[in-house]
Symmetry: C2
Subunit: 220 residues, 2 copies
């Protein structure tokens, strides 16, 4: 399942100048990684926040079987770390450079504790961190709302309705493939396709490419 990360703005409202000052204050030095290199592994108690200053990377889960799933896609300005990953077990989770990249590591404690130096926008940084975590929690909550429905039909409609209401329109663009959608709502793909077909036939929805339109209100 690819987690759409729409809520990373750790340094919004913070000037370039303040940013550099902070990095000095946090004793954070940029590190370079080549494409394919492992940037880090997630560990249970580690509380390091990573920032992709330049380049692309992925957070992947590697299973015992050897198969992998991309949990998150990271690019310029993205942050990562066990602090933003709320699962108890961090087994097999690592961050891999997808291109050459420059990465910063900051100790979580340094962010939380107010510094004695002149970090003028430190409290802004903390507020940003809060909104990032709240936003992630809201995404989880939304996911639960969808998964809590009993049938494939209900799950689909719940998902569609949430997307439309976010978009304040009866239309929205699927952010991932239908296969990934089946994955997200945790149902068999073929069964989901069958249900989508029925929903189309009954005039509830219309799907053209990745464009979904809600035609009728669905009352459960």
């Amino acid at each position: 399942m690819v987690n759409t990360v729409s809520c990373s703005h750790m340094f919004s409202g913070i000037s370039e100048e303040s940013y550099s000052k902070m990095m000095t204050c946090f004793h954070s030095v940029p590190k370079r990684f080549s494409a394919g290199e492992t940037i880090c592994f997630y560990e249970p108690k580690k509380r390091t926040v990573g920032i992709i200053e330049k380049g692309r990377a992925v957070v992947v889960k590697t299973f015992y079987s050897g198969s992998q799933t991309i949990l998150e896609q990271l690019s310029d300005g993205s942050i990562f770390g066990e602090v933003f990953y709320f699962h108890a077990n961090t087994d097999g989770i690592s961050v891999i450079a997808a291109s050459d990249c420059t990465v910063r590591f900051i100790d979580y404690g340094n962010i939380m504790t107010s510094c004695h130096n002149a970090c003028e926008h430190h409290s802004q940084l903390i507020q940003n961190l809060f909104s990032i975590i709240s936003c992630k929690a809201a995404e989880l909550s939304e996911h639960i709302d969808v998964l809590s429905h009993r049938t494939i039909r209900e799950k689909l409609m719940a998902y569609f309705q949430i997307q439309c209401s976010k978009n304040s329109s009866p239309k929205f663009k699927l952010p991932f493939s239908l296969s990934a959608l089946a994955d997200y709502i945790s149902v068999d793909r073929s069964a989901m396709m069958r249900e989508i077909k029925k929903l189309k036939e009954e005039g509830y929805i219309d799907i053209k490419q990745k464009e979904v339109t809600l035609l009728k209100e669905y009352i459960q």
Copy 2:
């Protein structure tokens, strides 16, 4: 569904003295409510943190039909507010006094912005808030782990295994009724009962009263 709140320690590590100082600094005055009174309604953009200083209260969702569900149970030291409720819609959510109680309201902004006065433990407070929110997010994430399984059997076993691993024991005590469990894993109760019966017969689990024991490892 009753949400087990195990992660409220907003003022842990903060002395009585610091607490009073903070409250003055935050311009927060204690308010009294009689049993049955409505303490507040949740509103979309409101960012007020509430603290139950003394007494008991409940966060309830009232549906259009008039039926209600208790979302959370609050007691001495519990905190509440839209900041800790990650759903987009706050319709019909209110906090009701279950006994006579004393409640504080603090503006979320005041907590986030560092104060000029002598709030020595302000950064401790922020750290506590972070751990509360992270803990709630972890609970959501755990819930998703359970709901992501396809069959009732898998959902049950996932839930049981999580509880046991938390308890670091093959046994644990169900924190709610079987009906509530069916609610939590989002399946029909009678179908769940049928599956529990089978799991018992096949020697996977044993349930006596609210005591669940995992007998065999379940591989999905």
